[in-house]
Amino acid sequence: MSSIVDARGLSCPQPVILTMNEIKKVQKGEIIILVDTDTSKENVSRAAIAQKWTVKNIEEEGTGYRIIITKD
């Protein structure tokens, strides 16, 4: 069961803060993050990698992106 972080419409640095909060909460597994700018996509990916999570997939969804990050 993956958790979802909806960061659409939020400006810097909210998408990263919400992602980091979720990473701290679940520790491992899968998190889906919804963002709507390329900047947020890059920032969230960069933050996830820095936390030793893997960016499993990024798909375009609507006008934004659906980022899936995982950690075993």
Partner: protein
């Protein structure tokens, strides 16, 4: 390099962007822009406010093509890379007020984070107080961010909304071509021009515009942000944006050495004063306002260029703030802070604290 991160957003990308900005800024000084003010977003928006007659400080009136270039360069990059997205509706009035106070604080110090970096790179020791103030202001902002402060969500909207700031800049450019500066004349058509002082010092229009466009383009690609540089380090210990900011200082310093523009000291530094406490205090206010608004003044211009209507409101807040600063005697001069500068900084800090404390959570 992961494929989802494009080159300019990599570590080397942002370092190169910082270096290019640092070198081009010092070059602009050589070509006519005021000393240690090759590119200062706050100062140049203040000059724009002067050109429009929003304030009548005769020495700081010029429609700076760099500002126009920043917005349009970002617009071009956003369209080429399919990142233009019109959005708005995230607490615009709050962003406007933050823009006003960011400018008021900036004009007490006499610069924004960009100029603080360039002043340091030119040897102006007073910039150290400004940079320390900037760090403290941003640090206070991160405390609010950690406690749930946010401006709420923006919404996708009509493309027109995203185009209004670029069109305004395009309009300014057209007017500048119709009513160019006439040597020794204070006004031509709709624009005021300085005949002396920093506003009279500028590189040729075409060069300023082209450099502005170039910086706007690469800054949009790299997400260059001087406030985010410090904020991300404090919040996440991330050094990505910081490496760009440090690169700007280092390369501006090296370019100044080469061009003979490095003059270390505290006294009689160009367009600066030596009141350390208020160099510090002004930038605490500015840094906090930028942190609460989510971007440095440059970043707000680049965001406005890629369709962010809220960032555009912040920019207009800064331009109006410049009008208020000079009309109400809040802005500093080389003699020191203006007659009402100190109470304005205190009021600004109180307003920012009020915003920070009261706008928490509630992101549905």
């Amino acid at each position: 390099m992961p494929k989802f991160i494009q080159f300019f957003a990599t570590r080397w990308g942002i370092i190169i962007v910082g270096a290019v900005i640092g070198i081009l800024a010092t070059l602009l000084q050589k070509l006519g822009n005021p000393p240690n003010m090759g590119v200062c977003v706050a100062c140049f928006e203040r000059d724009v406010a002067g050109a429009l007659g929003l304030h009548r400080a005769a020495v700081v009136q010029y429609m700076r093509p760099e500002i126009i270039g920043f917005v349009l360069g970002s617009l071009i990059a956003a369209y080429i890379f399919k990142e233009f997205r019109a959005r708005a509706g995230s607490a615009p009035i709050v962003r406007f007020i933050l823009g006003v106070f960011a400018m008021i604080g900036g004009l007490v110090f006499l610069g924004c984070p960009w100029r603080a970096a360039l002043r340091l790179a030119g040897g102006d020791g007073n910039a150290i107080f400004g940079l320390l103030g900037l760090i403290v202001g941003i640090w206070v902002g991160t405390l609010f961010l950690k406690n749930g402060y946010n401006l709420g969500r923006s919404q996708n909207t009509h493309t027109t909304v995203g185009w209004l700031m670029p069109l305004t800049m395009l309009g300014f450019l057209v007017l500048m071509l119709i009513f160019p500066q006439i040597q020794g004349q204070e006004k031509n058509g709709v624009f005021f021009y300085s005949v002396k002082g920093p506003g009279s010092m500028h590189a040729p229009l075409a060069i300023s515009l082209v450099i502005g466009l170039l910086i706007g383009f690469i800054a949009q690609r790299s997400r260059f942000c001087t406030m985010g540089a410090i904020r991300d380090f404090i919040l996440f210990r991330q050094t990505h944006l910081l490496s760009g900011f440090v690169s700007l200082v280092v390369f501006a310093f090296l370019a100044n050495l080469v061009l003979g523009q490095f003059h270390p000291g505290f006294v009689k530094q160009p367009v600066s004063h030596t009141m350390g406490l208020w160099n510090f205090g002004g930038m605490v206010l500015s840094g906090l306002a930028f942190a609460l608004a989510g971007g440095c003044p440059g970043r707000q211009l680049f965001l406005a260029g890629e369709g962010d209507g809220d960032a555009a409101v912040f920019v207009f807040g800064m331009i109006v703030g410049a009008g208020i600063s000079h009309n109400f005697g809040l802005a500093s001069s080389p003699d020191g802070v203006g007659p009402y500068g100190i109470p304005a900084v205190i009021i600004g800090l109180l307003v920012c604290l009020f915003i920070g404390f009261t706008m928490r959570k509630q992101v549905a």
